[in-house]
């Protein structure tokens, strides 16, 4: 992977994000000698994914509270090739900004009709689609009066080790971006904007739900960066 494409990622040494202080490695990362891009693990068996696992609004007897939304897009590699059969897993807070997780202490109500997790496999064109509700913003203790902008956590798991990505998708126009050290850890504004979904009229269903479009780009499959400058 060329250095230019790596630089879109936040440095782990990002002191404004307090949790990084004792966890970000202090030693420089070693240059990998080159075979990484070729390593693959077998594809997942499709039958482990339920046909309704992409719909976070239909996992309980009733419907969750909140603004019903569709999030859809394509997963591509940096050469523009679609990632077919990639496992996409998402998790998020409910409309009140509370996760259905024992450790979430935010004083906002749980929603008995919302667990906040979904998954799907990308189709032949790399497409994915989730139906959910818009998560709420939530407070955290990073700095005084700190709030995370509304976001959905995304995990992309494809057969190539170099393509592994965990990230977060944000919503357009959120006033909380500038005070969020997690989003702001991404070094440049253009790269940060690639974490923000676009409201989409096509994905918006009349009388039913709002739609957001968000494409994901991961490293190229043949990321063998050191063929010509191996360090020996």
């Amino acid at each position: 992977m060329p250095a230019s494409s790596r630089s879109v990622h936040p440095p782990n040494d990002s002191p404004a994000y307090g949790s990084s202080l004792l966890r970000a490695p202090k030693q420089p990362l070693r240059v990998h000698p080159g075979r990484l891009g070729e390593l693959t693990a077998p594809l997942l068996a499709g039958e482990t994914i339920g046909t309704l696992d992409h719909d976070l609004t239909r996992q309980h007897d009733g419907e969750p509270l909140g603004e019903r939304i569709t999030i859809s897009g394509r997963v591509l590699d940096e050469d523009g090739n679609p990632l077919a059969g990639a496992l996409i897993e998402v998790w998020q807070a409910n409309a009140s900004g509370r996760y259905a997780h024992l450790s979430d202490q935010h004083q906002a109500p749980l929603d008995p009709n919302f667990s906040g997790a979904g998954r799907c496999l990308t189709d032949a064109e790399g497409g994915y689609r989730f139906i959910t509700i818009k998560p709420g913003a939530y407070p955290w203790r990073n700095h005084p009066n700190a709030w995370r902008p509304a976001h959905v956590h995304f995990s992309v798991f494809s057969p190539a080790f170099t393509q592994r990505l965990i990230t977060q998708m944000y919503f357009p126009g959120d006033p909380l971006f500038a005070q969020d050290p997690v989003l702001m850890s991404v070094p440049d504004e253009e790269s940060r904007q690639r974490l923000v979904a676009r409201w989409s009229l096509e994905l918006t269903e009349p009388e039913w739900s709002l739609g957001y479009a968000w494409d994901i780009v991961v490293a190229g499959r043949q990321a063998t960066p050191l063929d010509d400058d191996a360090p020996e």
Binding site: H32, R35, W91, H153, R164, I166
Partner: protein
């Protein structure tokens, strides 16, 4: 065509909601010939266990995934991968590629776990060969209670060697 990459973000503290089920800690079943249990603990820079980390292993035979528990422990059952093919830098010893995710890490960390019963192959491995003895020790598991132990230190005197992604 080169498309700009989507930046990484931290997995956060609540990933168990979404990453708990699809991929598990058994790359090989317990009874599989050659199956080995690899366990370890993840530590932060204060020497405290990391109770909200996620370890993933990759090899040709499959991927394993295990969140750390309250004491930072993880365990994955797999088989030793076949020795890698020769490339321009030499013959690599059998190893697992390992990703580490956690609250506080804005990108995944990439490391490798080598096997302690492969002295000869490890001695010839080009990646291990590029490291000091102390650094190399962070990547080679130790035998422990019938399995292997592979601790991961995010910082400190025994900081694990991590590789550029």
């Amino acid at each position: 065509m080169t498309l700009p990459l989507t930046p990484s973000q931290t997995v956060g503290p609540f990933f168990r909601i979404g990453l708990a089920t699809t991929i598990g800690a058994h790359v090989a079943g317990e009874g599989t010939p050659g199956a080995v249990r690899i366990s370890g603990q993840v530590f932060d820079g204060a020497g405290e266990p990391v109770p909200d980390g996620l370890i993933e292993t990759w090899q040709a035979e499959g991927a394993g995934r295990c969140p750390t528990d309250d004491e930072g422990h993880f365990a994955i059952v797999t088989t030793k991968p076949a020795r890698n093919a020769v490339d321009h830098s030499g013959v690599e010893a059998p190893h697992l590629d390992v990703s580490v995710f956690a609250r506080g890490l804005l990108t995944r960390l990439v490391t490798r776990m080598y096997f302690p019963d492969e002295d000869e192959a490890n001695a010839a491995d080009p990646v291990l060969g590029s490291l000091s003895d102390a650094e190399r020790a962070t990547l080679v598991a130790v035998t422990d209670d019938g399995g292997l132990r592979f601790d991961i230190h995010l910082q400190g005197a025994r900081e694990t060697v991590f590789f550029d992604r």
